[in-house]
């Protein structure tokens, strides 16, 4: 496993022993190390409150406005230490994100949403190229470019959110729960799109509660619990792991049959306290 992890070239994103505190009292991340290499899809799994979103915020520079602070460790993007970068600078450097809950600008039209995504791009030609690429990925956005974004369906809004993030032609795309609240068919569609984006040369960091979906496209995965990384490995290894099966994929533990067993179900163990 070790050399499988090392086989890719140097990481474009690396998080080193990161510790994050909110409001100067609440310790949320307790020493996290992870990395994303060029061209990879990396999944980040974990239950509610495990610290996934906090980890993303420290990567994308949104920690400060949530009164969080990196107290130890570092985040580096493309070899540069980015602990204190603001999102504007990170976006210019090539890191783009799709926030949890889509967060599209509902009062603006689809077209304006895409333009707002390209705010940091100065050259008109680059914007046009990115626009063509986004429209190629999401033809539905082209057909609805003049309608108010708030009137799109949930799936279309998610596509718009991803399209908006792609307008800067990022090196790394960070997605927070893209499958949240979508029908299974749409989840499939989003999954395929993420794969396509990745094939076009963008690395992806995918945060998901839908572990099946995430591991089905990711090269590697990390499991986050209580602010620590408790498991990491190649996707197919994680998919085979009994604990992961039980905790995140909802299968396993043979022998449980009746409803009563399910009702009194307790996790056998936690990986960390």
């Amino acid at each position: 496993m070790e050399d499988a992890l090392e086989k890719k070239e140097k990481p474009i994103l690396s998080v080193d022993n990161l510790e994050v505190v909110y409001n100067e009292v609440i310790l949320v991340l307790r020493g996290i190390s992870m990395n994303v290499s060029e061209g990879e899809i990396v999944a980040l799994l974990g239950a509610n409150g495990a610290g996934k979103t906090t980890l993303l915020r420290s990567i994308t520079g949104l920690l400060e406005i949530h009164r969080g602070k990196i107290t130890k460790g570092s985040v580096s993007f493309l070899g540069e230490k980015t602990n204190r970068y603001d999102p504007s600078r990170l976006v210019r450097a090539g890191l783009s994100q799709v926030m949890e809950g889509r967060r599209i600008f509902a009062e603006l039209t689809v077209e304006e949403n895409l333009k707002a995504g390209a705010y940091t791009v100065a050259s008109r030609q680059k914007i046009a190229e990115a626009h063509d690429r986004v429209v190629g990925l999401f033809p539905v956005l082209a057909s609805r470019s003049r309608s108010t974004a708030g009137y799109l369906s949930g799936g279309e809004q998610q596509m718009l959110a991803i399209g908006r993030a792609l307008m800067t032609s990022p090196r790394l795309l960070v997605l927070d729960e893209p499958s949240l609240g979508l029908a299974p068919l749409l989840v499939q569609q989003i999954r395929d799109i993420i794969e396509t984006v990745n094939r076009q040369g963008t690395s992806v960091l995918l945060v998901e509660q839908n572990a099946t979906m995430a591991l089905s496209i990711a090269n590697r995965g990390y499991v986050l619990e209580n602010g620590r990384i408790v498991r990491d490995g190649l996707s197919h290894e994680l998919l085979q792991d009994d604990d992961i099966k039980e905790f995140y994929l909802g299968v396993g533990e043979a022998g449980r049959r009746s409803f009563r067993d399910v009702k009194t179900y307790r996790r056998r163990k936690r990986w960390s306290a």
Partner: protein, 353 residues
């Protein structure tokens, strides 16, 4: 009938001033969440700058107006950068710097010496407050809350209201506009040049604003930031630029509003900023966060005020008192608030329980 039309026309001319003032409020509110009480101060600065350029220095009036708009918007941006969205220690230090500066100046020092003393005092206070914060635990946020910033804008208004008369005096002065008492007659209707130009200049400024707001990059960024601060920030939209642009726009429209308010004989006084309080109902009527609502609200308020003025003596309503036209505006505002609490065009706030 002529009387009604005349009343409506004059009302629109009055209302377009309100529209400009309210637009300044709304633009800043949308971008930063602050209600900028210093807007009246910007109005004064703009009006007196136009006067200074066109009368004292003898430049062309329209050129003066244009320059005044630019200078006022630069001043507004500087005020935003230096005094708003700052932490407690910075604001306190800045306040003390100004205080010591003025005390020292009035005790006979030159401006330069006073400034240096003020700066030293400011730096001292900064480190004092910081020391106290470290000693006793700071408030977690390193930025003043919105409410604090609103109070700071009131302070800025007072400072401007002291600085402007100290330069241009307290007397009522003539703006020296090129319009004078020239009129155009159409039947029994009388259109004064001053009012026609007020409406025209307002229309141009508003058109410019709406084009910028709709089609330019910064306009889209401003609307996006208004809708969702954090998501806009995450997309790389610089909130600092958005804030500064909002103040710049507010300064420019305030300068125009001040100038068209100050035209005429002996209309330009340091108390002119009180018109801002008459514009408040327009803002509430139109909706706090809607620029289009600001314009329409302003015009409605202007028309209501003017028609009340025209018809009050006509219908023998003297007993309602002098200046009832201004009260009438607030009555209409109350009625509209009963029907639509968020204003005619404002966003209805939905709170999830």
């Amino acid at each position: 009938m002529e009387q009604l039309l005349q009343g409506v026309f004059d009302g629109i001319a009055l209302g377009s001033r309100y529209s400009l003032i309210v637009l300044g409020f709304v633009v800043i509110y949308r971008a930063t969440g602050i209600i900028n009480f210093a807007q009246g101060g910007f109005l004064l600065i703009g009006a007196f700058l136009t006067y200074n350029f066109s009368q004292t220095w003898g430049w062309n009036f329209y050129l003066s107006l244009f320059l005044s708009m630019i200078v006022t918007s630069i001043i507004a941006i500087l005020i935003q950068l230096l005094l708003l969205h700052r932490s407690l220690k910075e604001i306190t230090a800045g306040g003390f710097c100004l205080l010591i500066w003025s005390v020292s100046f009035y005790n006979g020092n030159t401006h330069l010496v006073s400034l240096i003393i003020g700066l030293i005092a400011g730096v001292f206070i900064y480190f004092l407050v910081r020391g106290l914060e470290i000693r006793f635990g700071s408030s977690q946020s390193n930025e003043l809350p919105i409410f604090g910033s609103i109070i700071v804008t009131i302070g800025i208004l007072f400072v401007i209201k002291q600085v402007v008369p100290s330069i241009w005096g307290f007397a009522e002065i003539n703006m020296g506009d090129p319009w004078g008492f020239k009129i155009i007659k159409a039947g029994d209707l009388v259109f004064t040049h001053a009012k026609l130009w007020t409406i025209a200049l307002t229309a141009i400024a508003l058109l410019g604003f709406f084009l910028v707001n709709r089609y330019t990059k910064i306009g889209i960024a401003m609307r996006a930031a208004h809708f969702d601060h954090e998501a806009a920030f995450a997309q790389g939209i610089s909130l600092k630029v958005v804030f500064a642009t909002a103040f710049g726009i507010a300064g420019a429209v305030a300068a125009l509003a001040g100038t068209v308010t100050g035209v005429g004989i002996a209309q330009l006084t340091p108390n002119m900023d009180l018109i801002v309080f008459l514009a408040f109902p327009a803002m509430i009527l139109g909706g706090f966060d809607s620029p289009g609502g600001a314009v329409i609200g302003g015009v409605i308020v202007g028309i209501i005020q003017n028609l009340t003025k025209v018809y009050q003596p006509e219908w023998d309503l003297h007993w309602l008192g002098v200046g009832f036209d201004r009260v009438m505006v607030f009555i209409v505002m109350l009625v509209i608030l009963m029907i639509r609490p968020y204003g005619l065009f404002g966003t209805k706030e939905v709170h999830r329980v």
